[in-house]
Symmetry: C2
């Protein structure tokens, strides 16, 4: 089939139906794709190629969906029928790592783990570590403002983005931000683009700030007889202001699933109701974790294990890293991503238990306890319409509960297509109008990922 | 004189010509005001008052200039002829300090130092500390994305803003952001408003995140025989990744001025060419500063003084706090605010010396060495047209030099009216077009601080 993009040449354009069809969805599991699928997949080799592609798309009003690894969990990279997919797979070079200015410049297709490794080679640290760190791309992380386990101490991806090169809807190439440590010249267009999920521009180069590499982390794992006890420990740790670089939680359902997958023996004396996993990477990490251990015991912890050794620490964290793979083994799954005020996490977890009981579904919960950012994972049977409907009701009930608790519909995965209709339940009419005005101003023809974040 | 704002009632509206005239300028010293001055000063008592004022301004297309303490240094609060000034002086309550969620909610007119004190009362820490911390307001700090001495470790004001209540150009009241630790629901409208200098909306409530209070800081002061030696020490400290919460510099001109003002005896053996002042507030602060002391001596430091004691440390910092007041005593002054990559600071300082010599002016330099953010202060005689012209040429040359070095025209003071014509020298045409499109989308009638940041 011929498309207006053919003039970019066969090296850049794929229209093979089988290849193209595979781009109609990403890792979002709720039905957000279908139909004839995208027209073509473009694989530009340069910013100039991206600009040429956008100019054609703009002229012909063809929707453009940018795609990195396709590992997003909200359908932002699920390409609608009639769109073109703009893959960043060939824009995958680390262009610069500057130890004096403590920054790196990368193309969007660089895998996040590779950027972390490049920084580590010169003794520096790129903190963002989404669960997908080994395969997701920096461009995708920036587009969704991805989080991870580091956030409790280091913040999210956007906190590290200094500057962007971006191709605007009409093909104009521009730069936002700066290479200096500070700067307030004009509007913060960089932050506006971060997390905009491909709807305001196509990011073609990213400058991130780096930190001095921290010391080796110490690790703590504690098990609790109830979710409430674990939450009380989290609250005590937060009140004490301990300097933790990680503070994660898993519930019994998740622990059981991990045990089944790995045979770790987490439930030797019966699986605990909850496990907290924490790290500290400061100079007095051991003291911080000793203090946390005491607070955990005060809150009723059953077992508390401390590890100063990095290898032993990694082994303790393995259970957390296997949380999602383990839950995926239980059946089909919908991964939710809600964040509530830290003080309301117990109410969220108790509410999720009620939802699971009401819908007769297994819902495992794990997440970033230090941030109040939880990932309830709804296990169901996609071949059974009744189970799918129950899963949908559970997803609805959990996301609504997060809002009722003063939280947000998405802590780190983004709105995408999965939660587009939820946005107006979180934002008030004024903020919705502002969002639509900004979108219309920067993408007047509506070609950039239409239907993602906002109604098309 | 009657105005369309009279319907707000005499309690909220001042048209007394003498009072109103005093609002035609802020602390920006380059001639940016003049003429008939603003029409009226409005002093709303509530968000609803602000909304009512904006609705009238929108209907009658009257420019609105928001003003906190009026301590801005870039003319953002210098109200043009025919505008109304919207003072935040009555919107000055700390509404909430929540130790569990580690956040505070304040009205924009709260003095920044008062917010810091309110946080400290519950053992928490609001880091932003612009030089004006004792009298500038949180609203003004947010509107300019103010910096300070904390930035080398903690970042700028915007890094602490979680949520805003804002009144849009037409009087619509809305909220952006969230109270949770993380959240990616929709565009980052909060960051777009931070630093927008009153041109996109009127901020009526600010939610900031707080940190656990750090331990008492240790302090180091070192003097150097040359600017190059001081800069080499800064580079070595940066490479070593020492955890410093402050890293400031003052040049000989500034030190001489401080000595004259305070009689501190900084120049007992001849004033040094440069002084570095550093603090660390981590658990191993003493070790970090011992390491810094060694690096300073390696770089050729003359004297290195360390203080673990907070009172002694404050005494050591007094010289830095007196830098601007001391330079102000030398005559009329223009304070510049440029930021360059850390590795280019020496070139900037040497260039400023050449500019001072070429224009036969005294230019004192102090600033945030750890960020590359310098405040060259051009002393001149405002009653002598030749001196004013020379000062203007020096300002031009220094700001242009910062751009040539890969820096920015403003590190923390903002564009305001002072540097409006510089913005297009820093941003490329695409970013300028994006900025204008955003402005037009959110303020279609152009009533919000017209002529600030962008051309009216």
């Amino acid at each position: 089939m011929s498309t207006p993009f053919d003039r970019l040449g066969p090296d850049l354009v794929t229209t093979d139906p089988e290849v193209v069809a595979s781009f109609a969805r990403d890792e979002a599991a709720l039905g957000v794709a279908g139909g004839a699928g995208p027209l073509a997949v473009l694989s530009p080799r340069s910013t100039a190629d991206v600009a040429a592609a956008l100019a054609i798309a703009h002229e012909h009003r063809v929707p453009v969906v940018v795609r990195g690894a396709g590992s997003g969990l909200s359908g932002a990279a699920a390409a609608p029928d009639g769109s073109v997919v703009l893959s960043t797979r060939r824009l995958a070079r680390v262009l610069e790592v500057d130890p004096v200015e403590r920054l790196a410049v990368v193309q969007p297709g660089v895998v996040t783990g590779d950027l972390r490794a490049a920084a580590a080679e010169v003794g520096l640290f790129y903190p963002p570590d989404p669960g997908s760190v080994a395969f997701s791309t920096v461009g995708g992380n920036v587009a969704t403002n991805a989080g991870g386990m580091c956030c409790v101490k280091y913040g999210v991806t956007g906190d590290f983005v200094l500057a962007l090169e971006v191709v605007l809807a009409d093909g104009t190439v521009t730069r936002t931000g700066r290479r200096t440590a500070k700067g307030v010249a004009g509007y913060d267009l960089t932050s506006l683009l971060v997390g905009s999920e491909g709807t305001l521009g196509v990011i073609t180069e990213i400058t991130v700030r780096l930190l001095p590499a921290p010391g080796p982390a110490s690790t703590l794992v504690a098990t609790f007889p109830s979710l409430g006890a674990a939450a009380a420990a989290v609250a005590a740790v937060t009140r004490a202001g301990l300097d933790l670089s990680m503070l994660e939680v898993m519930d019994r359902t998740t622990l059981d699933a991990v045990d089944r997958l790995t045979g770790m023996g987490l439930g030797a004396d019966g699986t605990p109701a909850a496990m907290l996993l924490a790290q500290s990477d400061t100079a007095d990490a051991a003291r911080a974790l000793e203090a946390m251990a005491a607070l955990c015991r005060d809150a009723g912890a059953e077992d508390v294990v401390l590890a100063d050794d990095a290898v032993e620490g990694e082994a303790l964290l393995e259970a957390r890293r296997q949380a999602l793979p383990a839950l995926e083994r239980l059946g089909d799954w919908i991964l939710d991503d809600v964040c509530v005020p830290r003080g309301r996490v117990v109410e969220l977890l108790e509410g999720i238990e009620r939802v699971a009981a009401a819908q007769a579904l297994t819902i495992g919960v794990f997440g970033h306890a230090g941030d109040g950012n939880m990932h309830p994972t709804i296990v169901h049977d996609a071949s059974d319409p009744a189970s799918v409907a129950a899963a949908g009701r559970a997803f609805e009930a959990i996301t609504a509960l997060a809002l009722d608790l003063g939280g947000t519909i998405t802590g780190e995965h983004g709105v995408g297509r999965l939660k587009r209709d939820w946005l107006a339940r979180e934002l008030d009419p004024g903020a919705m109008a502002m969002s639509r005005a900004v979108k219309a101003a920067l993408d007047p023809r509506g070609i950039l990922n239409p239907g993602c974040v906002l109604e098309p």
